[in-house]
Amino acid sequence: MSTPLLEITGLGAGYGQSRVLWDIDLALAPGEVLALIGRNGVGKTTLLSAIAGSRPLSAGTLRLGGEDITTLSPHRRARAGIGLVPQGRHVFPQLSVMENLQAGLSALGPRARQAKVPQHIFDLFPKLWDIRDRAAGFLSGGEQQQLAIGRALAGEPRLLLLDEPTEGIQPNVVQQIEQALTHVRRELGMTILVVEQYLDFVWRFATRYAAMQNGRIVRTGSIAGESAADVAHLVHI
């Protein structure tokens, strides 16, 4: 097997004294789309934060493309190729849509100064071009979600981390986001780790799933081999 793009070994993390994640082992091959599923509070978001660097690890190591990134600060991890679309989207509310995307270019490192927001982001989300001068804080949830994904893509990540991309979003926008992510996977060959409770949505474009319970990964499998309903039943979602 080729070097995994992301390799997590024995990862533990928590908040102060309370441990939230235990012995997480997980590897993502290049181009793979892994759905991280489980009920509220099992540690899915904490795991994404630990990978992105906003939550320190208490144990274990992280490798990106074979390189140890365990001790890198969050902005260095972003520059190493990790793009984050966090829960609640976290667009910069008083920056315009265009400025949000320009902030996303920072992950390119020194190249960011000359870089322009690539056209393919507006091809993916035409709405963002129409509203490019609006303050991001005034956008609808769906528009903010598209912006957050576009902002992460502007940094040309190797690994895209998505936290509940369908949360609180109208069905027609969900469909658009699904198409965009499918495009990103097929055309850009991007590796994606997506946290999602809406299994029918991820089942349409993910390749593998990992289910969490009480801070541990309890089951992994291939999307093609199992139905969303069966897995949901097995892991009590």
Partner: protein
């Protein structure tokens, strides 16, 4: 109450407001972005005054003061860089520690200036083109004060342009609005902090040059301006450039216009009461909520 008196005090109020603004902008920047209460800010003003004195010693002549402005900007910014990297960065997890730490820096800088330049202070002679005065309808407008207003306007304009239009300004606003997310986008928030602190320190240095035009530069000249500068920042709505500007105007005009009726120490007391009452009714300051961030 004559019209000329009111007009004179209006002018004095605007002049005072421009000094308050120059003194407060740097504080507003570092507080707005880093939540750092920089007690050494007054000493960065003081340093600017000494930079002006030193520059005019080396470059006499009418344009020395125009050379002193960039020299003081760079000099104070460099001192700010040292303070940020050696102290503030290491204490930033606990805001109260930075308050105490920078207070220590303030004392050290004051004593250093006393040892180096003497306790009495030094005199900066304004060039001839700044010593005169204009008269407009019976109101005397000293050139030095007009010059200070111009510099304050120019600094404000340049700062607004920097924050609104430059790449650095974009990064500063992003870090200010969501530090965690800015880091996740690849922005080095620590470097942005350093740049902002240097910028604020540099503006304080230029404010110090302006103070040198108004009176002698002494080791504790900054102390006289730090309290009004803090009042302006608090009233302006912690960290907003627009709010800081409006608050400087309100306080400058309040102080000058109240002196039509009362003497200067009563006027200062009234100003304090005014700020306290104002904050009771509008704790968020003059800036509207939407533009509270480091916006122009």
């Amino acid at each position: 109450m004559s019209g000329i008196l009111v007009a004179t005090q209006l002018f004095n109020g605007l002049s005072l407001a421009s000094i308050y603004l120059l003194a407060a902008l740097g504080l507003a920047l570092s507080f707005g972005l880093m939540r750092v209460i920089n007690m050494a800010h007054g000493e960065l003003l003081m340093l600017g005054g000494y930079f002006a004195w030193g520059t005019l010693g080396l470059v006499p002549g009418p344009l020395g003061i125009l050379v002193a402005l960039p020299v003081a900007f760079l000099g104070s910014a460099a001192v700010g860089a040292v303070i940020e990297t050696t102290l503030i960065r290491r204490l930033s997890a606990r805001p109260l520690d930075t308050l105490l730490g920078t207070w220590g820096v303030s004392l050290i800088l004051q004593q250093a200036a006393r040892d180096l330049f003497g306790a009495i202070g030094v005199e900066v002679r304004a060039p001839d083109w700044l010593s005169g005065a204009w008269t407009l309808g019976g109101v005397t407008l000293p050139s030095a004060r007009l010059f200070i207003m111009l510099v304050a306007l120019a600094v404000l304009g340049a700062l607004a342009l920097l924050l609104r239009r430059s790449r650095l300004g974009l990064l500063v606003r992003a870090v200010n609005q969501d530090r965690m997310m800015a880091s996740a986008c690849g922005i080095d928030a620590g470097r942005v902090d350093l740049a902002v602190f240097c910028l604020g320190s540099g503006i304080a240095g230029m404010a110090g040059v302006m103070l040198a035009l108004l009176g002698p530069v002494t080791p504790n000249v900054g102390q006289g301006y730090i309290v009004p500068a803090f009042l302006v920042v608090v009233m302006g709505g912690l960290g907003s450039i627009l709010g800081t500007t409006v608050a400087a105007l309100i306080l400058g005009l309040f102080l000058a216009l109240s002196q039509i009726f009362v003497d200067v120490s009563i006027a200062q007391m009234l100003m304090l009461v005014f700020v306290i009452v104002f904050i009771q009714f509008r704790p968020q300051g003059v800036a509207p909520a939407r533009t509270r961030a480091l916006d122009a």
